[in-house]
Symmetry: C2
Subunit: 212 residues, 2 copies
DNA sequence: ATTACTAGGTTCCGAGTAA
DNA sequence: TTTACTCGGAACCTAGTAA
C-alpha cells in the first residue's frame, strides 16, 4: 500500500477506534481532511484493494472499518515510534547514600520559594542521590524543558543557580536538579520531590529506580 | 510541513535515535528508501525549511539531526497511536468466586494435552472467574488470534470445544477460555494460567485485574 | 443524496548535469 | 566524490458529471 496516504488511515483509525465500523460519506471525510470528495473516494477504493480497510458502499454513503491488515500496519508504525520514544523517555539509576548536604540546600528559603513557583510543589527537605549512566541522562535531558532556578545571597554566603527538569519517579512527581557549579561528577543526579521518596517508594541504597 | 513524507522523517528518526546527529549522504538515504538521490536532497531541504530537521551540508555529504519541532511532530503521532492501541489492548475485570467446576474441566486430559500444545504451558488445575464489561471484551478480542481447542469424548460423557485467547494478567502469561457452549453469560470470563493466579498475584474476590 | 468515472491542470519525481 | 538545479514525463488532484 501507499505510504503517503497514511493520514487518511490514521483518520479512519481514530474515527473507528480501530474497531467499530464507521458510517460516513466521502464528502464528510473530504471536508475533515481538506481534500476533494473525489480524492477520498479514490483513496478509499485503493485502501480497500490493498486490504487495509473493509468498505461497504450504500446509497447514503460508505461504511468503513479497519481490517486486520490495516491494524497490523498501524501497529507496526506504533511499534517503531514506541521503540524510539520509550528508550528516550526513561532511564535507570541506582539509589546512593547522600552526604546530607541536600537537606541543607533544600532548607534555604531562596530555593524553596522558587521550587514552589516553578515546579508546582514544595520539595521535601532533602535530596535523593542516584547513580546514573551520563550518556543515557544526556539523551534523556536533551528533549526535556529546562527550568532555571536562580542563585541568591544570604547574610552568610551565596548560593549558586540550578537547572531543574520535571520527571516522574515510579509514578511520583519529582524533579532532577543540576547545580550550575556541581560537586558531583555527572554520573550522580539529585532528585527532589514533594515527599520523602525513600519512604514513599520504599527505596534503599542500591535499589534501582526508573526515571521518566 | 508535508504529511506525505512522513516515512523519510521516520527513517531519519530511527537512524538518529531521535537524538544523535547522523553523518550520511543523500545517495545512501535514497538507496535505503528506494527513491532517487535528487528526491532525497529536495525533501531534506524541505524538511529543513519546515524546521523538522537540522541539516549541515559538507563536501562529503550531509549531517542530519531531528530538531525539537521534528520530535514534537513525531511524538504527537506516537501519542495518537498510543491512545488507539492502549485502549484496545487491555481491559479491566473483577475477580469472582467460581463454582469449582473449572477444576474439573481443567483436569481432563483431553483438554490439558491441547492446552500444552496450543498455548505453550500446562494449565493450573482451576480457572479464575472474572466479571467484565462484554463490550470492552468484544473490542479487545476482535484483534486477537483465536486458538481453537477441540471437544472430545470420554467413557463417561462428552466435552465441548473451546476458543482460547492468549493474554497477560499482571505480567503473567495466561489465556481466556470461552466454551463453545457456555454456561456463563458473556459478562464472565474464565482465565487459565500455568500457576494458581489467586496466590501468585495475591488476588481475592472483588479484586480488580487488568488483562492485556 | 450518494459514489466514482473522465478530463485537464498541478505537483512531484528522477535523469542529466552544474558547482 | 558531494548537493541540488533544470526540465520532461509520470503521478496525482480536483471539477464536472454519470449512475
Amino acid at each position: 500500500m501507499n505510504q503517503k496516504d497514511l493520514y487518511l488511515l490514521l483518520y479512519l483509525a481514530q474515527k473507528t477506534q480501530l474497531q467499530q465500523s464507521l458510517q460516513t460519506s466521502t464528502g464528510k471525510i473530504a471536508l475533515d481532511l481538506g481534500v476533494s470528495q473525489q480524492t477520498v473516494s479514490r483513496k478509499l477504493v485503493d485502501f480497500s484493494a490493498a486490504g487495509m480497510i473493509d468498505r461497504i458502499v450504500t446509497p447514503t454513503g460508505v461504511e468503513i472499518s479497519i481490517s486486520p491488515d490495516g491494524r497490523k500496519h498501524l501497529f507496526s508504525l506504533y511499534g517503531d515510534l514506541h521503540g524510539m520514544f520509550v528508550g528516550a523517555m526513561q532511564f535507570k539509576g541506582i539509589v546512593k547514600a547522600g552526604l546530607g548536604e541536600g537537606k541543607f540546600y533544600m532548607g534555604q528559603e531562596g530555593y524553596r520559594k522558587q521550587f514552589a513557583e516553578q515546579l508546582g510543589f514544595v520539595p521535601f527537605m532533602g535530596t535523593l542521590n542516584v547513580a546514573v549512566d551520563p550518556a543515557a541522562v544526556e539523551q534523556f535531558l536533551a528533549t526535556k524543558e529546562v527550568i532555571y532556578v536562580e542563585g541568591f545571597v544570604t547574610a552568610e554566603r551565596s548560593f549558586g543557580g540550578l537547572r531543574c527538569y520535571k520527571v516522574c519517579v515510579h509514578g511520583v512527581e519529582a524533579a532532577l536538579i543540576v547545580p550550575d557549579r556541581t560537586m558531583h561528577k555527572n554520573d550522580t543526579l539529585e532528585i527532589i520531590a514533594p515527599t520523602y521518596l525513600r519512604e514513599t517508594l520504599g527505596l534503599k541504597d542500591d535499589t534501582e529506580v526508573i526515571i521518566e
